[in-house]
Amino acid sequence: MAGKTLTSSGRRTGTVPTQGFHWWQSKQIQQRFWRIVALIIILIGAAVILVPFLWMLTTALKTETETYAIPPKWIPDRLMWNNFPDALRLLPFGTFFRNSAVITFGSMLGALLSSSIVAYAFARLRAPERDVLFIILLATLMLPGQVTLIPLYLLFNKMGWVNTYYPLILPAYFGGGAFNVFLLRQFFMTVPLEMDDAAKIDGCGFFSIYWRLILPLSKPALGTVAIFHFMGHWNDFFTPLIYLNDVDKYTVSLGLAFFSGGGLSSGRLEWLMAASVVALLPCLILFFLAQRMFIQGIVITGVKG
């Protein structure tokens, strides 16, 4: 992590203790002591956070009798890798993955295109009504989704779009989310205006400035939007739940809920956990691949992912 770190006590180290001071009164030693205490607490916390993941993974590799063992076995006698294909065979998980991918990437494209062009307009183009519209955009950030939920459902139902992917993909093409617009606008405003002027002299119109100058310069910000979009939509449960009815249209989340609640896993915890591990993998892999971008994105936006 770049940037200065600072101890919260903020003491400057290196002060020489005057005579009559005991060694424990030395600021350096005190500081080291507190740092060790902090490290121990952090280690315990990290262990607590990792236990569920560990338990999930080992349960996925146990035999049926081992999963119910009291006291529980932490490490199975034999690693049952077969649990994975066995669990995934019970339902068309391959189809679920494809469906989730279609929805997530289909809406991601819309969110990227749409939020970036709107953000460009708010960051760069002047119009009398711009500030009023921007305030409205910010206000929608605070709007809890419940209020629009039912009319939207009724609207999409009327259009015959229930049990299709349209309600899950299409809205992203209309603005791409107020939050993304806000994030991209903040980023675009850091691009020097002189570059726009240079492009204008070269004969670029507003659209080509956006397309050929701003977008290529904003890859990190666009990446952040894409990653947050992926996490949000891959894990989303509520929207697919209300719009999708047929099992072959289910997303991974819906399929997993169906698998767990519908008695399909027939109480076989190892299958349930194996399927859950597989469902979590895309987000985990993406997180580890794009960790730096991720943390920076959270820090820039100040919002949880």
Binding site: P71, A121, L154, L155, N235, S253, L256, Q291, G302
Partner: protein, 305 residues
Amino acid sequence: MAVTVPKQSGVQTRKEAWAFRLFVSPWLLGFVLFTLGPMIASFVIAMMRWNMVAAPVFVGLENYQLAFSDPLFWKSLKVTLIYSFASVPMGLVLGLFVAVLMNQKIPAMNVFRTIYYLPAVVSGVAVAILWQLMFNSQWGVINTLLRSVFDVKGPKWLLDESWVLPAFIVMSLWGIGGGMVIYLAGLQSVPTDLYEAAELDGAGPFKRFLYVTLAWISPVIFFNLIMGIIGSFQSFTNSYIMTSGGPNNASLFYLLYLYQNAWQYFKMGYASALAWIAFVIIMALTVVVIRSSPAWVYYESGRGR
């Protein structure tokens, strides 16, 4: 945004304004179609009795009256508020605590930050299933650990009316890493000279933490507080998967009750009224937090969000 561009003719200004309108039109259209329109519609539907089969009947404020005399409405409101008032402040304090510890020049801070952030990456159905199994009173990992480490007989958690909400609160604390990463970034942005000035003024470590550190990151805390309150009214997946609102509606979260009314009993009017009540409560809570903010949120001029 103060922009100084060489003199522009009226034609160019008008051209720019029209480009602005063209570029924001996707968002504006989306705002009217998917936000403003549905909001108005929701307000009207809330005054109807409508089961989607028979024609809607105008009933005025009957749905609101029904809600106020509906014990389940009160129950779900109570559940959501208890959860919110327990999990949001606890998560905030704990997240801040870990962030302060991690800010002490801890070795391998990046690794720990990744570990703490992991739960925030994997929310959703798979995690709900995992915790459902972990909370099992006989072979679940939580009670097993309580028995083997502390020699305590754990409660029945999700099956016990008085323990089901504490279970959800414990689960929410698992995800403090999301907030922690933001606080950590805030802590690292505190200017060193502020500490030095405070130390010169004779402020001890505690006062420095209170008046420098906390004051500096108070806008971040403020923002997370509001988002946390709104978030608990959106809480759905965990209660849907883990308890279906039980036992005896002790975990009937607000959105779950709204969902049941709309998509299980098809009371579209009643559910819309519930959505509006939630909207008013969230707005009221937000206003209270914002009104109280001058007392405890510090904005350096030009640093305001």
